[in-house]
């Protein structure tokens, strides 16, 4: 049955590329990936910790607004203070103008004063596709048991300008609630932003 569904979806999408989905309440898809410094990260390394995945592309006006205003770095620092692991996932394919090689990525990480745990090189698109990440920024929050607790937009203001701090930030809410041992109230929303630059 599963194969039939996949085959049909493949036909529908035409591009031969099928996005998976990180379903809220289900275990988060496992992954092993290298960051831009060459360090290997395995999701299972972070059992007992809250993990945030941030699909990232600074060329995208929506993403850029969160960084240029400093709102994203603030949120990353806040997450770090709560002991949350924050992984920036860059799924831009090497063919895309938005691709950053490790050298450029390291420079950008410094220049933007990022407070994330690591920048994962996902230029193969493996993580992005397994989680069904559609846009930059598309956010996923995984709880201490490795279960998807939030999947969707970063906040309720799908705009590429203005101060994001004034919006209702769903990721901050999810971190707060999970830290307090509560259930996440808004667990899924429609992600907004530019399409992820996967290889065709």
């Amino acid at each position: 049955m599963k194969t039939i569904v996949t085959a049909i979806s493949t036909l529908i999408l035409g591009a031969g590329l099928v996005l998976g989905e990180a379903v809220v309440g289900k275990p988060a898809p496992a992954f092993t990936a290298k960051d831009i410094k060459g360090k290997t990260h395995n999701l299972s390394d972070y059992k007992a910790k809250i993990v945030v995945l941030e699909e990232y592309n600074l060329d995208c006006p929506f993403c850029a607004n969160h960084f240029k205003t400093g709102a994203m770095q603030e949120l990353q620092a806040y997450a770090a203070s709560k002991g949350v692991v924050w992984l920036v996932v860059d799924s831009a394919s090497p063919k895309s103008p938005s691709y950053r090689d490790p050298v450029a990525a390291k420079k950008e990480f410094e220049a933007e004063k990022m407070k994330a745990t690591a920048w994962i090189d996902d230029s193969s698109g493996a993580i992005g596709k397994a989680y069904g990440l559609r846009t930059t920024p598309h956010m996923v929050v995984i709880d201490k048991n490795g279960v998807v607790a939030y999947n969707g937009a970063i906040d309720n203001k799908p705009q590429a300008d203005g101060d994001p701090r004034k919006a209702r930030n769903y990721v901050r809410e999810a971190i707060d609630r999970l830290s307090a041992g509560e259930k996440v109230k808004v667990a899924s929303t429609k992600p907004y932003g530019c399409g992820v630059k996967y290889a065709d």
Binding site: L13, A15, F62, K68, S93, S96, K197
Partner: protein, 710 residues
């Protein structure tokens, strides 16, 4: 100091990003009119021209991207409606599905000039903000401006053709698309929605482009299911974010035929399972069939009544006796001639139907009863009904010119089949003096409630069937002739009595002029009708029935008409221009519902305050609306429920022309009023649609209000 330096760098970086990445899309403003009159609706278009390979987005951008937004800056008295989006292109790249425009697009927005806009140039300005993408995405922003002249005549601009061209690319709002939506099977996490419809163009590659929605998302991937030929059946995954599962779905049914894309805008209720008949349901929750039967019944009755008009009844017996004589008592021949005669009658009514359709097409008929939004139509109809009544009272006659009458009777006096046919065909024409009033009413019905062409033909044929029925019956059973009422003075009395319902209609129409002109409407139109009636009497008494001083009488007639028209309608009323009327407080009685004027903002504000909202889309000329309000809304149970649930009651008055309300009606796939909606206090939930009167019962309203307040 350090902070200042930091800000400087942030600013510099921002400036750099904006200058380094100039927008790839050019924008300009197009208006279809260069000069417009107060009361006009000017169609504005934001023309976006994208660089090669770059695209901007539709109202629902899809998996990624963002819709273009337009913020208007308009002088007082000019208001902008919602964006009308041309049908987009479904664009798949790297597994992501989006709805986009490549090359160029014109986003259309109706701008309405209210009456008090002062003449002279006004500046129309809009801030446009968009996302444009190719391999990368850029944020685009710009302001477009155009000067519009407000004057006394309309003048098309050089962009009129461009606007017209893009209007054709809008989805069609076709109310009779047969479509249905239902859940494949109820599930908890994600559900499959099945959308089924009867193809309109018969084109291949059907698809459904969902509108943006709050709280849920209709997936952009489409799975085509096998369907009988001529039908489309699609499966869409629906993901719910919060709240209840949606009960309605809106979007475009898309068909591709011969390289062209046709799209139909729909809003469908989602059913728990497929309709038992499998035939699908009509999109409009209307009671059209029952009212159609009633209208057809009335038409048949009207046709029958035509027969007892003084100038027709005496002829019936003669006609049938004529047939009997001609056929030398052979019953078969009598029946044959009778049938041919009936065919002649029907043919003449078919001609009339086609004329009515032509008239209807000549006027613009965008929405139900939209003619009543035009004061000129109301005045013309009031005039027509008054004349019809006067004619029935016998104040004056309607006669055909003598020569036409002669030619007609020549043809009809021929014997045999052709004689019978022409007899039937011309029975209507010959009897014009009596049939005109009823035919005028039928014509008025066709014009007042824009019916599809086939319904008009059906209506007129039914009139014909009614008129021909006695002939048919009598040619089968000539013996029944003795039961035929004897012609006599009673017919004249009956005709006169028929004048009173016509007068009643005229009174109602006269009252409607208040909607357009305020208190002055009934006064001046009434005075005009009085002068018209006087002129009709002079005409009947001194021109038609007198042989002396006919010229003087004619001059008096013309003088009366000219004075009535020139003074009452032109000078005092200015009847051809639309006028702003303060329709005032809508509260019907001290303990009645406290209606407030409708606006999208008012609905959103109330929802933000946690209140449910009842919206009554209505118009003074809409009888169904008035009956619905009287017996379905302004009743104690509904009044107290509104107070108890703290529901905000809003009235959207469509009595005059209003593009904002028209757009909202269109959004709910309604061709016109009535439309009754209850917006739940949770803005993520879809509004509840209430049926029109007579299906509208207070208990239904009360339960909808309860549900909305939850």
């Amino acid at each position: 100091m350090q902070l200042l330096a930091r800000w400087f760098w942030v600013l510099a970086a921002l400036l750099l990003t904006f200058t380094a990445q100039a927008a790839k899309t050019d924008i300009r403003l197009a208006l279809d009119l260069e000069t417009a009159r107060p009361g006009d609706t000017v169609m504005a278009g934001v023309h976006m021209r994208m660089a090669p390979r770059w695209h901007t987005y539709w109202r629902n951008s899809g998996d990624s991207g963002g819709a273009t937004t337009i913020d208007w800056e308009l002088p007082p008295g000019i208001t902008a409606g919602a964006i009308q989006w041309p049908v987009p292109e479904k664009y798949v790249t790297a597994g992501l599905i989006t709805y986009v425009y490549h090359d160029d697009v014109v986003l259309l927005v109706p701008l309405t000039l209210s009456a008090p806009v002062a003449p002279g140039p006004v500046e129309i300005s809009a801030r446009v903000s968009w996302l444009e993408c190719a391999e990368q995405c850029l944020k685009g922003k710009g302001t477009v401006k155009k000067t519009l002249q407000v004057g006394t005549t309309d003048k098309k601009s050089a962009d009129a053709a461009l606007i017209e061209e893009w209007k054709k690319k809008l989805p069609r709002v076709k109310s009779d698309v047969r479509a249905q939506a239902f859940w494949e099977k109820p599930d908890t996490e994600s559900r499959n929605l099945i959308i089924e419809w009867t193809l309109v163009t018969g084109g291949a590659d059907p698809d459904f482009y969902p509108f943006e929605a709050k709280g849920y998302e209709v997936g952009n991937a489409t799975e085509k299911l096998s369907a009988p030929s001529g039908k489309a059946k699609l499966k869409k995954v629906v993901k719910k974010f919060e709240g209840d599962w949606p009960t309605q779905v809106a979007g475009l049914l898309v068909e591709k035929a011969g390289g062209a894309t046709e799209a139909f805008q729909v809003q469908m209720p989602i059913m728990e399972s497929a309709a038992a008949s499998g035939g699908g349901i009509g999109m409009l929750p209307s009671d059209a069939p029952s009212s159609l039967w009633a209208a057809l019944g009335l038409a048949f009755l009207g046709g029958l009544i035509l027969n007892i008009m003084p100038c027709v009844l005496p002829v019936i017996a003669l006609k049938i006796l004529g047939f009997v004589q001609q056929s030398q008592q052979s019953p078969r021949e009598v029946r044959r001639l009778g049938l041919i005669y009936v065919a002649g009658v029907l043919f003449s009514f078919l001609v009339l139907a086609l004329a009515a359709i032509g008239l209807q097409k000549a006027g613009h008929t965008a929405t139900w009863g939209s003619q009543f939004q035009d004061p000129r139509f109301v005045v013309a109809m009031a005039t027509l009904m008054t004349l019809v009544a006067l004619n029935l009272f016998g104040v004056f006659e309607v006669t055909l010119p003598g020569s036409a009458l002669g030619a007609a009777s020549d043809l009809a006096s021929k014997h045999g089949a052709s004689g019978a046919f022409f007899n039937g065909f011309l029975a209507t024409a010959l009897a014009t003096s009596c049939t005109a009033p009823i035919l005028a009413v039928a014509l008025g019905y066709a014009l007042a409630t824009p019916q599809p062409a086939h319904i008009i033909i059906l209506m007129f044929l039914m009139l014909g069937v009614g008129m021909a029925a006695p002939y048919l019956l009598l040619s089968w059973y000539p013996a029944l002739l003795r039961f035929l009422p004897k012609p006599g003075a009673w017919m004249e009395k009956f005709k006169m009595a028929m004048g009173f319902p016509m007068l009643a209609t005229a009174v109602w129409l006269l009252a409607r002029t208040a909607d357009h002109f305020g208190d002055r409407g009934p006064l001046w139109v009434g005075l005009f009708l009085l002068l018209l009636a006087f002129a009709a009497w002079v005409w009947g008494e001194f021109v038609q029935r007198s042989s002396r001083r006919r010229r003087i009488a004619m001059a008096v007639c013309l003088l009366l008409l000219a004075f009535g028209y020139g003074f009452c309608l032109e000078k005092e009323l200015g009847w051809r221009s639309r006028q702003q009327v303060d329709r005032g407080n809508h509260k019907s009685s001290p303990d009645g519902i406290d209606w407030q004027p409708w606006s999208q903002a008012a609905v959103e504000k109330a929802q933000a305050e946690g209140r449910a909202v009842l919206v009554d889309f209505t118009a003074n000329w809409c009888l169904t609306c008035q009956l619905g309000k009287e017996y379905g809304l302004e009743v104690p149970s509904v009044r107290s429920k509104i107070k108890e649930t703290n529901t905000l009651a809003l009235i959207a008055d469509f009595t005059g022309e209003d593009p904002v309300i028209a757009a909202e009606l269109k959004r709910f796939n309604q061709a016109g009023v009535p439309l009754l909606l209850v917006f739940p206090k949770d803005p993520k939930r879809d509004p509840i649609l209430l049926p029109p009167w007579p299906k509208l019962r207070p208990s239904l309203v009360v339960s909808a209000l309860d549900q909305a307040a939850k």
